[in-house]
Amino acid sequence: MDLFAVGDYYVGRIVNSQVKSGASFGTVDHESLGGIMDGSAGSPRVKVLLLDKNTTPTLSVCATQTELLEHEIYLIDTVENAERDVMRQLKCLVYVKPTDETLACLVRELQSPKYGEYHLFFNNFVSKQQLETLAEADQLEVVVKVEELFQDYQIINEHLFSLDLPRASSDLVVDTLVDESYMKQCKDSLLSLCMSLKVKPEIIRYDQESAVCKSLGKGLLQDIEKNSRSLFDFPQDPSTPPVLLLLDRFDDPLTPLLQPWTYQSMIHEYIGIKRNIVNLSKVPNIEAELETVTLSSKQDVFFHDTRYLNFGDLGDKLKEYVSTYKTTAQGANSVDTMDDIKEFIEKYPELKKLSGNVSKHMTIVGELDRQLKDLHIWELSEVEQNLTVHGDNNEDYDSTLNLLRDARLSQYYKLKLACIYMLRYDDFHPQEQNSGEIGKINEIFNILKESLTTEDINYLHKFRKFFVQRKNKALRNGTDASANRSPEKDDLLTELARKFNTKMDLHRSRLGAKRNATSDNVYMQHVPKLSQLLSDLSKNKLSETKYKYLNKSTSTPTNAPTQDVIIFIAGGVTYEESRFVDQFNEAMGNGGMRVVLGSSSIVSTHDFLNSLR
């Protein structure tokens, strides 16, 4: 269940597309399909790749420009662009999402073809009607191939996908009303994911508190059952039925609110990474060539190795990397004889690539460090983490208040901190106005009133009400796993995290941040709910009241070990959670549970907080 492999396979399928049999362009040959070999298949032919606005990001993450060039794809354009030049000697590869909009563009294209031969690839199901529309438009018979590939999602890491569908705002208010088109897109993308992994989810479970998950699950089930004969008939081992688990971001609102500390997530939080592109143009004194850099865990080995490391470990790795570079460059510096220069020329491209990569990561890490200091994240994050893991105590409360009073901390972070506090300690019993809890909350509001705008205060009220209601409802149903469950000793990933965190202290001093050393890494104490969920799932102990079965049939054995799991979090996933999934998969090793995590979007703290506004 390696998504990179899936992506590579599909890209290969597109770029190597050839028509094995049948009529090539020009010869209108209806009857002898499967007869003559296409003579032009072997000869060089410049290819055009047409994408649409949906597939452009999908493909740009999967394939590099160089890869495309290697396959004679010398021209890349979008279907939407009507101003393309007519070049009928070219072969055109079309990779689009079958939306009505794109279909209209394609129909126009086929009616007056700009290129000589068309290979159509769709990244999801094409309906019969759509196919008919296209066939009708193709009067010149320029289409020689039509194929459905199933990659209607973006691949971020081996086990992480995103649909890039940021949740519409105002969901907080009307949680029960679900946007139809949003749901359809989620559903279609998830179906394409299942197809691409050749997985028929025999078990669909959903977070019973989430209306979104429920309706999404029902829609999926319906579609899968409708197509089970024709499409979902993969050779599969029925003894280990694949599981699709639908979660809601609101079930674990803490994770996306906390400041992240691993490389990939920090880049996302502080600089922003989209489609593997990091925009560094806002970094002060940036060199022109470093303004936008690409960062792909597939191509960049260093990034692949460091993306899940915390900031301290990252610093070490980077230092190592730089010194490797230096030794390599040193060798190249001593160019005295002709032989040396010969060698230098041979090595030069590689060296240049390496130096580019080094300076790229140096810049990014430098910028991260700068922001951490400027925004006072070190102080903030410590309090945040303490709030999430400690019980209610006055020490944490006082440090919270101190930070809220601190003029140096930006309004956004104050608001966020207050939100975290509410999530943790607010029980919101209006009748008990005088209890200590309420006093504390009121105090927070009082402090915030001085620094925040009324808008933000209103937002905080709204936030508080929403989540407290949720919490109370969950308590009534007795389904809140975190409330009535003590952390178990055998939680695999908590152990891992602990091991992982102890290292942090060693490095922190080197980074110049002088914290009072505790045995644990104070910045990464919080463990996302997902971690507990994964270990529960692997032990077949996942609460059935909280995560309901949608299609629990009698035939599927309940005691079957869980093997292939697709987890979808409606409303956003964090890179931190991706890290946990990655570690989990690694810990499971070969033959164990395999998890693919995905979401409608990948959220930073800003994204999450703003999505609730």
Partner: protein
């Protein structure tokens, strides 16, 4: 679950402590510890935690004794059936002998340290650590996901299950698409045939009418008045003929244009398409009928149609007829013709050049492996020489000479190959340059040019490396032989420093350069220029990155290169570029 997957021995351990007596694999509850143990052994094929190898077929008696003891302990009914299964299956398993290795990690198996287990599916021997996946098997050891029992198996059996590592579903709709297209296009094709027929009749008819009225009139040498009359008659007949070919739509029944549905009015007049007979407007914006088109043009653009009448009359411009066609008919009759014409038309210059580039690249790709093979051979030869070679004295290298003579043939071969390659690269470069100089006719072509530029430079960078590497082999060999024949056949483009002493005597002996030498020097010069260009870039680069020590070293090299290239240019003189 994770730990139970990790090692069966471990999993059996902790689960015993659990009060509910749950099987760690299938989560069935058991009343007693023994029942659970039996269940684990029988149903899942796990051994107990003493590392006993009762499930391993051994040649020795001692462990089978143990087996008997264990079997005696367990409830007879369950044990009996299990034993039956086991006996049946185990007969095909790999037997354990001392020194046997694990089929996964290749470690030597030892019952005490590694543990021994047979994969229940393939029967091969593994150490316990590598036989921990579980799979459902029936009692013949075959995969049976529905009725089978959970048993342990090795990784390869586990991951070769159907659908385990499968991905990348695709659905080919080409067949369906063409089927739909055929049925949809059937009508369109018939319509096209009909329209084409009408077009042929129309144009032929005009020519006939012309012949009838004008040529006859001319033959009778009638006066001007008669000519005017015949012209009027012709027009009248032509109109009638048009209506005869195509039934015109009745004007009165139509209020709006058939294509753009605009209402007709005083300004928006009604027109008939001469092919389909429909009433269309003559709007300049919608182009429902784009004015009247000369018959000659219509005929020329559909020259493949079976026109009966000769085109000469039309060509001479005598029949001046213009015909109105609606946009639908034009699209049906002329667009496909235009499209296919474009497709078979000679490609634009860029594409043309590109195709030749591809051919050269193919030649290079095909030759390179041969060359590399020969190079490797030469290199080993040289190493042998170096090992057994006599010390190289002033005139006392006769032995060496004979040793080299054997490899001389190889080296000549090598040099020939190299020359071919260098030539190919030269042509490739020239083609690339030519391609880049072609003025692009549209932005797309420009972008294609840019792409090709990137690709070609990548190609050269990648493929030219072995050529560079081989310089040393040829050099040292040719230096040893000192015969000018082999020296001239080898192209030392890459190491001018070592070659310098050779070139000087050459040039002093031969005042005029042979064609071969000119070629050789030119190539060397080209490579030198390329090198100095790379170095210049490198200098630029290191300057911008403030690595000045690097830059100084580089500029020293650059000056050496320039010296050499100037020298070469001097040698070439008029023969230079």
């Amino acid at each position: 679950m994770d730990t139970s997957n990790g090692s069966p021995a471990d999993s059996a351990g902790p689960s015993k402590e659990v009060e509910s007596m749950e099987c760690p694999v299938c989560l069935t509850a058991f009343p007693t510890l023994q029942a659970l143990n039996t269940h684990l052994d029988v149903d899942h094929g796990f051994g107990d935690d003493t590392g006993d190898s009762h499930m391993v077929v051994t040649d020795r008696g001692e462990s089978s004794n143990k087996k008997k003891i264990r079997r005696a302990k367990s409830p007879p009914s369950e044990r009996g059936t299990a034993a039956a299964h086991t006996n049946h299956r185990t007969s095909t398993w790999q037997k354990y002998r001392v020194g046997e290795k694990c089929n996964f990690c290749q470690r030597k198996l030892n019952p005490n340290t590694t543990g021994i287990a047979n994969c229940r599916k393939c029967g091969k021997l593994y150490c316990k650590m590598h036989c921990t996946n579980i799979i459902k098997l029936n009692n013949r050891g075959k995969l049976d996901p529905v009725k089978g029992q959970w048993t342990s198996c090795c990784r390869s059996c586990f991951s070769s299950r159907p659908g385990y590592n499968d991905y990348g579903e695709v659905r080919n709709l080409t067949g369906e698409f063409t089927r739909i297209r055929r049925s949809k296009n059937e009508d369109a094709r018939l319509r096209k045939l009909q329209l084409e027929n009408r077009l042929v009749r129309l144009i032929d008819g005009f020519v006939k009418l012309y012949k009838l009225h004008y040529l006859v009139a001319m033959a009778n040498k009638e006066g001007a008045g008669q000519a005017v009359l015949s012209s009027i008659k012709f027009t009248l007949d032509a109109t009638n003929f048009e209506k005869d070919v195509t039934a015109w739509q009745d004007d009165h029944t139509v209020n709006s244009c058939t294509i753009c549905h605009k209402q007709f009015n005083f300004l928006q007049r009604k027109h008939h398409c001469r092919l389909c007979g429909m009433v269309v407007c003559n709007s300049t914006t919608t182009k429902c009928s784009n004015g009247e088109i000369p018959v000659l043009m219509l005929r020329d653009n559909a020259a493949d149609l079976p026109f009966k009448e000769d085109a000469s009359l039309l060509k001479r411009g005598e029949v001046k007829m213009d015909v109105r066609l609606c946009s639908n008919c034009i699209r049906a009759v002329y667009t496909p013709r235009k499209f296919h014409q474009d497709c078979v038309a000679p490609p634009p210059k860029i594409i043309d050049k590109y195709i030749s580039m591809c051919h050269i690249a193919k030649v290079i790709n095909d030759t390179l492996p041969y060359f590399q093979g020969a190079l490797a051979k030469a290199e080993t030869q040289r190493e042998q020489d170096a090992e057994g070679g006599t010390p190289v004295g002033g005139g006392n290298n006769g032995n060496r000479r004979t040793a080299v003579a054997n490899s001389l043939e190889d080296i000549k071969q090598l040099a020939k190959l190299r020359e071919r390659l260098v030539n190919s690269f030269g042509t490739y470069n020239v083609l690339t340059r030519q391609l880049l100089q072609v003025p692009p006719s549209n932005p797309s072509e420009q972008r294609i040019q840019q792409s090709i530029k990137v690709v070609s430079s990548q190609f050269v960078n990648e493929k030219i490396l072995p050529l560079r590497a081989m310089g040393s082999v040829l050099n040292s060999n040719s230096a040893n032989t000192t015969s000018s024949s082999s020296a001239s056949s080898s192209l030392h483009s890459k190491s001018p420093a070592t070659q310098l002493p050779q070139v000087k005597p050459l040039s002093s002996v031969l005042k005029r350069l042979t064609v071969k030498e000119v070629k050789q020097y030119r190539e060397e010069l080209m490579v030198l220029k390329e090198q100095s260009f790379i170095i210049e870039q490198a200098i630029e680069d290191s300057k911008t990155h403030r690595r000045f020590d690097e830059a100084t070293a580089l500029s020293r090299n650059l000056s050496e290169l320039t010296d050499r290239s100037q020298e070469l240019q001097g040698l070439l003189g008029e023969e230079g570029f």
